[in-house]
Symmetry: none
Subunit: 186 residues, 4 copies
DNA sequence: AATGAATGAGAATTCATTCAT
DNA sequence: AATGAATGAATTCTCATTCAT
């Protein structure tokens, strides 16, 4: 019997892939083990439960967005307009490549009322997203309007991502991003 | 042993309630039977499987939206602007009272890639919604722009409904509807 | 596939048999299902968990002892000495036929520090036993001495039952009962 | 990575502690490793299986009783009555400090019919105990009566220890020992 | 020796579904 | 129709044991 080693971060990566593909309830520990080239018992070497694994996946992804995407909003090397464009481009890329809408939304809606533990990480993701947009908009707008517009943008992008996912058609998301950039980015 | 009769439409109604509350996978046939005052074996007198039940629930709800909400768009007794207002008011009411976002979206995202049968009913719901808005917008805009705007509106409403659900805050949805009415309804 | 029916009380009876034979931890739900001629999933039609099943078994057995054995102590149709003799004979019979010592003791010791729920039923069994002996002894002895002697007798019988079980030799239990009857029963 | 050395006898000591606390089946190799400050894989450097470990624990404890407790019966430096007293005092101390009855009894009952290997060591423990008491009683009683009384005493002490454990009350054991010393020790 | 990763054989439990009454 | 019992496959999780480093 081969004794393959895997890194914790590979486990998280593979788990994210499977959870994205099948959602939370339809994903079995066996599916995840398979994706890692392991047997199901081995997963419990890394995490103590399926729930704990999902929490770690969500936290990792939230941190990833924070560090790689939302942080662009605070990069002084670029003009605010350019930062907004970069941020929009980046999130469009991510959403499109996943073909399945936004992971936080999908998991959040699926596990609402059943797995409370996930909700706070999901809320943090949205709060960070909205905050980074608010920061950018506040270069041009008064504080409360900036926040309002940030919320609207997030809602629009998510709505478009959802349609893109449900109706299997890229255009919704692409068009929305274009509109946002035109509207604020000039 | 109570020998309660239930009407098919009550089964569908109760099923919808439970599915809304718990989602598809977390809902058991037992939950649904309980909600109907029956035992689980009895459900199979009405439907042949959990999947078939959900399909019927989705179809019923789609028809309900068509007949009670989207049909407002075609009611010649009112001005197009008023029809739009009525349509927006009605869907806001529905979304808000459910506290759980839009059922079609929730089920669609949860069962994507796992239960194909549901997707076509869900697509029909969106198509009818978009079509009814397109019709209204076409009083003021050229055909292709009307369609585009309809899609944007649906995306915005859904995005707002989702934030309202995930962040447990009415304002997103209310504000979006207000904006739409202002924008188009005058 | 045969669709055999079983009565709840048969489930309890068979469960008792298996738990007696293998102890709590070594007994699987499958073992119990087999003993009932069922498949393991079916057991959950009757009880919600292995623990709950054991609690019911313990309670049933405690009640059985109370109604069939300890109640002899309060039967006015016989002289106290005869009641004592009957009680001793009866419990000897039960202990010997089980070849495994006293079920309450076995389960109580095995699950100490791990399954708290069982302990209170077990304590009740001993309390009822001691109380019935106390009542009989109080015909001849002052109250506090009667209680003391009852406790000693229970300890002796249990000690003997244990040796009988561990060393696989009837004599310990038989001899102890004889001694008790001689000592008090005259 | 700490590379702690442990002595075989510490492993046995810690294993005994854990087995006493949790019983045989509820104790995991991990529990034992933890108690030793090791990880579970390391245990297999010392013993080849959980069963073999328990056998060694039982043998060690049996030898300990033989050398430190039962051997008192054969110590010519004291009068037989004093040896009996010392033996009683010693075993009371041990039983009371463990709060969990007698380890041989607990394990013997828990693993009866499932792990045969343990039973012979357990029988040896009882045989040595009975033999040492028989030897002491034979200073005053004919051989067969001495053996009989020894068996009765062991049964009484064990019965009392069991009640003490199950009912969480010292008195049973203490009272029994007092009685024994009074009865024989004069 | 000690570690830590992996294994694999169960364990308890869940649940959609079937079906005799 | 409704019931309630049974099924059996699937699922999460546990744990003694192995073994390369």
């Amino acid at each position: 019997m081969p004794r393959k080693k895997i890194e914790r971060k590979d486990l998280i990566k593979h788990s994210l892939d499977v959870f994205k593909e099948k959602g939370y309830h339809k994903t079995t520990i066996s599916d995840i083990a398979n994706a890692c080239g392991l047997l199901k018992g081995s997963i419990y070497h890394y995490v103590e439960s399926k729930e704990a694994l999902m929490v770690e996946v969500l936290e990792t992804l939230r941190d990833h967005y924070m560090n790689k995407v939302f942080s662009l909003a605070y990069d002084d090397n670029f003009q605010p307009e350019d930062r907004l464009r970069m941020l929009a481009v980046k999130s469009e890329e991510i959403f499109l490549e996943e073909r399945n809408g936004n992971f936080f939304v999908n998991i959040g809606l699926e596990t609402k009322n059943t797995v409370e533990e996930f909700q706070s990480v999901i809320r943090e993701f949205f709060e960070q997203w909205i905050r980074s947009l608010t920061y950018l908009f506040s270069f041009k707008l008064p504080e409360n309007e900036a926040r309002l517009n940030a919320e609207v943008v997030v809602a629009e992008v998510e709505g478009a991502a959802m349609l893109t996912s449900l109706l299997d058609d890229d255009q919704y998301l692409k068009r929305t991003n274009r509109k946002i950039i035109e509207f604020f980015g000039t």
